[in-house]
C-alpha cells in the first residue's frame, strides 16, 4: 500500500478506544477515555505528572490490563486477543518508544544487533539482509555506519534515543506509542529528534500516540491533542486550536503557565 493510499483511506480508524478505565485500588489511573486514531495521525496526550497519561499509554500498548472499556485495533478487539496474538501484534504492527532508551534497548548488544534483533523476532534469518537493513535504518536515524558494531552504552543520550527509534521502526509498524521521547535530552538534540520523527511520520504514514508534558513538542508533532487531568480527558481537539483557544479551565492554566522564550 502506498503512502497516499494510506493517507486517503481514512474512513476506518486504525485504533478505536471506548470507555477505557484503569483503577489502582480506590485511586483512578485513567477513567472513561474514548478516542479514534486514524492512519497517518499523530495524537498528543498532555497533562501534568499523575494526570493518568502514562497509565493510559501503557493500557493502550498492552503493558497493563484496563478494568473497563474496549480497544479495537484495525477492527480487532485487542483485549479479547490471546496473549500470543497480542505479543505478535506488538512485535510487528506496533512499536513502543520509551522515555529512557535503556528501557527499550539491549545495552550489551551492538547497535546493529539491537536493530537486527527486532527483525529476527519476526522471522528474518538471512544474516546479510538483516545487517543490510540494520545499516540502512542506522543511516535513516543519522547514526554513522562505522558505529554499527558499537554498543549503545558508548552512545550519547540523543543517539541512544535515535537507535531506539530505528529498532522500533525497522519492522514497519503502523502504530507507534511514544512516552516522553524527547524528555531528558538537550534542546538542540530534541530539535534534531523532532525533525527526524516528523519526517518518518510523514514518509511512512505512521499513526502515533505521544505522551509528553512538553507543549512545544506536541505543537510541532501532533495533529490532535488530548488534555488529561486526574485521570480524565478534559479537552481534546486540533492541536493548535487547543493550545491557542483552550476551552477548559485546566487547559487555560496549562497553556498560560508555559514560560515564553
Amino acid at each position: 500500500m502506498t503512502l497516499m493510499e494510506r493517507m486517503t483511506m481514512t474512513d476506518q480508524p486504525l485504533l478505536r478506544v471506548e470507555g477505557l478505565t484503569k483503577r489502582y485500588g480506590q485511586r483512578i489511573g485513567c477513567a472513561d477515555v474514548s478516542f479514534d486514531l486514524y492512519p497517518g495521525e499523530v495524537l498528543g496526550i498532555v497533562g501534568e505528572s499523575g494526570s493518568g497519561k502514562s497509565t493510559l499509554l501503557s493500557c493502550l500498548a498492552g503493558h497493563q490490563r484496563p478494568d473497563l472499556g474496549r480497544i479495537a485495533y484495525d477492527g480487532r478487539d485487542v483485549l479479547e486477543m490471546s496473549e500470543t496474538e497480542r505479543r505478535r501484534l506488538s512485535r510487528t504492527d506496533w512499536a513502543y518508544v520509551h522515555q529512557n532508551p535503556r528501557d527499550g534497548l539491549r545495552m550489551g548488544v551492538s547497535a546493529g544487533g539491537n536493530v537486527g534483533e527486532r527483525l529476527m523476532a519476526v522471522g528474518a534469518r538471512h544474516y546479510g539482509e538483516i545487517r543490510g537493513k540494520a545499516a540502512d535504518w542506522l543511516g535513516r536515524v543519522e547514526i554513522a555506519a562505522d558505529r554499527i558494531d558499537d554498543r549503545p552504552s558508548a552512545f550519547s543520550g540523543g543517539m541512544q534515543q535515535r537507535l531506539q527509534i530505528a529498532r522500533n521502526l525497522v519492522t514497519g509498524p503502523r502504530l507507534v506509542f511514544m512516552d516522553e521521547p524527547t524528555g531528558g535530552l538537550d534542546v538542540s538534540v530534541q530539535a534534531r529528534l523532532l525533525d527526524l520523527l516528523r519526517g518518518l511520520v510523514r514518509d511512512l504514514g505512521l499513526s502515533v500516540i505521544i505522551v509528553t508534558h512538553d507543549l512545544a513538542v506536541v505543537r510541532l508533532l501532533a495533529h490532535r491533542l488530548m488534555v488529561m487531568k486526574s485521570g480524565r480527558v478534559v479537552e481534546q481537539g486540533l492541536t493548535d486550536q487547543v493550545l491557542d483557544d483552550p476551552q477548559h479551565a485546566y487547559t487555560q492554566l496549562l497553556v498560560s503557565s508555559v514560560l515564553q522564550v
Binding site: 495521525e41 490532535r224 491557542d244 483557544d245 479551565a249
Partner: protein, 227 residues
C-alpha cells in the same frame, strides 16, 4: 469558496473569575473563486480572530463557516487537517518551524505532505525562494536564524508552494522592501488568476487597492455591548 454566516465568538476566561468576553457576533462574508477580499477595521477589531476561525485555529461559538463544502465551525479535527493539507493555506505573520530544518525543506513540506515526489517539491520550493530573493546559500540553513523580512518571505514561499484553492493572508507585505513586495503582489495576482479565493489583512493601502476586489469592515461584527 469561503462563506461565513452569522458567525459568533466569545472567550471564557476560567482563571479570571469565568469572565465571558464576546468578541464577535453576526459575522458574514463570502469569497468566490478568483476573488480577493480584504478585512479592514482598527487594530483589535477582530480581523485576525476571524482569520483564525476560518483556519480552525479558534473555535466558533455559533454560525456557519463554510470552506468548500466543509463547515469548519462544526468539523472534526481530522476533517480540518485534511482541509488544511489540500484546500486551505494560511500565511501567518510568524514562521513556526522545527529548529534545524533547512529552509528548502520548510518550503517544500506542504507539497511533501501531499505526496508530491521530493525532487518536484524541492524544485517548486527552489523557484519560489529564488523569486523571493532568498540567496541560495541560505537554503540549507534553518530559517530560525534569519532576519524578520527573510522569515516572512520563507513563510510566503511555504504558503504559496501548493496551489491551494483558498488562501488566508495575514499582512503578507509587512516588513518587505519594494522589490519583494512586488513579488508577493504578483504571487497573489497569479493565485487569483488560477482561481484561488483569498481572504486577507493588508495594512499596506496601495497593496490592498491593487489586489483586493472588495473590502469588509469587521467593525460591523463587534457584538453590541449588553445594556
Amino acid at each position: 469558496m469561503i462563506r461565513i454566516e452569522n458567525l459568533s465568538k466569545s472567550f471564557t476566561l476560567h482563571n479570571q473569575g469565568g469572565a465571558v468576553i464576546p468578541v464577535m457576533a453576526g459575522a458574514a462574508l463570502s469569497v468566490g473563486p478568483g476573488e480577493c477580499v480584504g478585512l479592514t477595521g482598527q487594530s483589535g477589531a477582530g480581523k485576525s480572530t476571524l482569520m483564525r476561525m476560518v483556519y480552525g485555529n479558534y473555535l466558533a461559538a455559533g454560525g456557519r463557516l463554510m470552506v468548500g463544502d466543509l463547515d469548519v465551525a462544526t468539523a472534526e479535527p481530522r476533517q480540518i487537517i485534511a482541509l488544511r493539507r489540500q484546500t486551505l493555506g494560511y500565511v501567518s505573520q510568524f514562521l513556526r518551524v522545527v529548529p534545524r530544518v533547512p529552509t528548502l525543506e520548510v518550503v517544500a513540506e506542504p507539497l511533501l505532505a501531499l505526496g508530491t515526489p521530493a525532487d518536484q517539491a524541492r524544485a517548486r520550493a527552489a523557484s519560489l525562494l529564488r523569486r523571493l530573493n532568498i540567496p541560495e546559500r541560505l537554503w540549507p540553513l534553518s530559517p530560525t536564524t534569519f532576519s524578520g523580512g527573510e522569515q516572512q518571505r520563507v513563510n510566503i514561499a511555504r504558503g504559496f508552494a501548493h496551489a491551494y484553492p483558498a488562501l488566508l493572508l495575514d499582512e503578507p507585505t509587512a516588513s518587505l522592501d519594494a522589490a519583494n513586495r512586488e513579488v508577493v503582489l504578483s504571487l497573489i495576482e497569479e493565485a487569483k488568476a488560477r482561481g484561488a479565493a483569498i481572504l486577507g489583512i493588508f495594512h499596506d493601502e496601495a497593496a490592498r487597492a491593487r489586489v483586493c476586489d472588495r473590502l469588509v469592515d469587521v467593525t460591523g461584527f463587534t457584538p453590541k455591548a449588553a445594556a
